[in-house]
Every structure is written in structure tokens, then in C-alpha cells.
């Protein structure tokens, strides 16, 4: 994507392109661990969706269906909040994408 020069920017560093943080793939923040979804244990309480500080839990028709790794920063909050036993979300090692 072409980057704007300083003369093209709106004044005051305001951002009129509301929602453009979607373009920033924060998944690159993950540092070697990622949450993995185990559908067989999931009760679809959606705690993971509530607590996810980004927008990385994919919900379809009221059901947890997976993780959007483009935006998951790997914080692990979903695996802590997941109430099932065994857990429906666990942190697993992943190769760092450098």
C-alpha cells in the first residue's frame, strides 16, 4: 500500500478512516505461543469472545467456531477464562514467523 506524505495527512493527526486498524495484522505480535481451539470440549459460553482484548474469536450463529490468527496477539486470556474441563482453548507452541 502506498504511504501518504506529510502534506497529504489531515491536520491534528486525526484519523478519519475509522476502523482502519483492521489493516494492522496484530497477529505478528505473538511470541511463540498460540491458543488452539478444541471444539469437542466447547460449551459455547463465549467467555473467550467476551474477554478477548482484540477481535480474534470467530463466532458464527452464536457459536464459537475458531480463532482469527491474523489478530490474535497470543495473550492467553481466552485459555485462562475458558471454564470447561478439560479446556477448550489451550496455549501451544508455534514456530515464530520472522
Amino acid at each position: 500500500m502506498r504511504k501518504m506524505g506529510w502534506k497529504e495527512l489531515p491536520p491534528g493527526a486525526i484519523n478519519p478512516w475509522v476502523g482502519n486498524f483492521m489493516e494492522v495484522k496484530t497477529g505478528s505480535f505473538r511470541g511463540g505461543l498460540k491458543p488452539v481451539f478444541h471444539e469437542e470440549h466447547c460449551i459455547h459460553c463465549l467467555f473467550c469472545w467476551v474477554f478477548c482484548p482484540d477481535n480474534a474469536i470467530i463466532v458464527k450463529e452464536g457459536k464459537m467456531v475458531g480463532i482469527n490468527y491474523d489478530y490474535c496477539k497470543g495473550c492467553g486470556i481466552c485459555t485462562v477464562e475458558c471454564p470447561t474441563s478439560p479446556k477448550s482453548l489451550t496455549m501451544e507452541k508455534e514456530e515464530l514467523q520472522l
Binding site: 504511504k3 501518504m4 506529510w6 502534506k7 491536520p11 493527526a13 486525526i14 478519519p16 475509522v18
Partner: protein
Amino acid sequence: MAERRILNGNAAIAEAIRQINPDVVAAYPITPSTAIVEYIAKFVADGLMTTEFVTPESEHSAMSMCIGSSAAGARVFTATASQGLALMFEMLYIASSLRLPIVAGIANRALSAPINIHGDHSDTMGARDSGWIQIYSENSQEAYDNVIQAFRIGEHRDVSTPVMVGMDGFILSHAVQDMLVEEDDKVKAFVRERNPLYSILDVDNPITVGPIDFTDYYFEHKRSQFVGMENAPEVILEVAEEFKKEFGREYGFFELYKMDDAEVAIVLLGSTAGTAKEVVDELREKGRKVGLVKIRVYRPFPAKELADVLSNLKAVAALDRAASPGAVGGPLFTDLRASLYEYEKRPIIVDYIYGLGGRDIAPKHIAEVYERLEKIAATGERGELIGYINLRE
């Protein structure tokens, strides 16, 4: 008709704010600017103003509220001094980079330690790189006039930059002086309504204010911020011209006092100009070719205009009421000396640090500076680069 009043600097600024009646005033009291806030609180309580007057828990919060209100399109004023301005430090940069034309009245005061409540310029000089326009006043009249003009300058859409108006703590803030207060309607008409660049309350055009930039955009955003400061000189002169037409008093980037055929000159900011003018008058009566340059607009620094005036002199002294330890001299001196570098013909220039913590500067001290400048002019020998006035060894 303008009314002749006897007001101290704090009351003079408060009068201007009563007349302008900004949408929001958020301020935390601190000596010596406390009375500005007290007067405004009273005006609001007495129903003389419709301003939303907010009393936050600190200066940091005060400036934060100013920023939020200004981003919503409001006309905003605050007042502070010294430690209060220092506590605002991080928010000052946010106000200027968001291009929010907040006006702040500053009763210039020393910074701790030791604790000292008296006048010097350390507080605003510490904020000289914060991206705010800085205007300094010589007396109550100028403090009043400068605050009125500050709204027009800062809120001009080409500028959209916050403005701080300085007046020396106690020397001006608490000393009563004879001055003119203009008619309410005329002042209101002069400052007009604010027409903001953007507003967070404009729901049809949603924006994010204060978003994050990474290495790819921060630099471009900072550069675009500087445009406001670059556009300021033209607007400052335009507003001064209109002010002169409306109210009769003349302003520019600086005031020249008996500079026409001067061979040596002192350059300074603020109330000491009054004392220096007396000294210049006395020396002129004795036939000595001395002059004074009182800088009104310190940011943006009128480098070329000052150098044009000073380059043909033989010797110049900058009087700094703030120190910059480890630098080549006080802030005014380093700016002035850098401005003269472009000129092949330029005067010998020396610096004096004076008046820290309200230390008195008397006519005899200023006369001694002129005496030394004349000696430098005669011999071409500069001597010490940085001196101190009225300091015990």
C-alpha cells in the same frame, strides 16, 4: 468607550476572559496565577459568564480537560504557572500535535528546588519546544491585549496551535497598573466564534483523535504539525493590524525602543523592558547610542526580523530570565546568536542570566550592561560569554 481601570496582571487577564466568555475553562490554582482562576470562578458564580468552569484535581488533568473540550470544538482557556506548567508537560505536546488552539495565561514563576514562588521565565522556557506559540507581556495592558489576540491567532484555521501568554509572576501578576479595558461587545466581536478544524462531536464525520502511529507515519504527522507554527507569523501580524485598527494599540513580533541609530542594544522579554526603557532614556539624554529590543513573540522566533535589526549593531546583550545548564547560554541568547549566524556582518553578542527566583534587576544593573556593551563596541573584545546580574559570589 474603553474604561480606564487599575488592575494587576491576573485581574487584567481575567477581565479579558470574562469578556471573551470561552466555552470551557479548566484550571487548577497555583501561585502566582491563582487569582486568574479565582476571578473567573467568581464571574461564573455571579452569572457574568456562561463558561463551563471545571475544577480538576491537578494541572495535568486541567490540560487534559482542555484538550478534550477543544477537540470537541470548544473555545478553551486555562491558567497556570511554574510547577503547574511543568506538571502539564506531556499534555502540552498532545495539545499542540492535535492542533488544538487552547489559550493558557501563565504567571511566569521559577521552578523548584528550592521552592520559590517568584518570577522568572524557567517555566515557559522549559516548554519552548512543546509546539505552543509563546507571547510575553511587559505590563497588565499587554497581558490583557495579548490574551485577546491569542484566541484569534491560535484559532485561525491556518494556525490551529495552542498559545501561552506569559507575564512575569508577582511583578506583573500582583502589581496594579493603570490600563484600558475595552468594551465587552467590541472584544467579543474581535475574537469572533471559533471555527474548528475538526470536532469529535461531529457524528456525521466520525474520527479518531490521538491514534497510534508506528515508525511509518509518526514522522509525517509531526512534520504536518509544524505547518501551524510556520503559518503563525503572518497571522500574528494580521491580528495585530486588526487589533490596532480596533483598539489603537500597536503590536508586532517585538518592540524597538530607540533603536534607529543605536550602536549597542539589549534584547529581553517581559516586564524588565519597563526598567530598561527608563535606563535607555537616561543614557540617551547623555548622548549615548543605546537601544532596547523587547521580544513579544518568542515562539515562533522572529529570527530573520530580529537579525535584520541587530546585524548592523556593534554589540548586543541578551538578557535571559531562565538558565539552560550545559547549553551555550540562556534560551534567548542561543536563539538570537543562531539567528545572527546567517549574516556576515553581525554584532558581538553576550549573554546575561538575571532575575532567577524573582531576584531584583535595578536600573543600575541595566546601565552596567550598556556600559560593558559600549566597551566591547569600542575595543572589539568580548570577554566572558555568559554573565550573571546581581548575583553574590
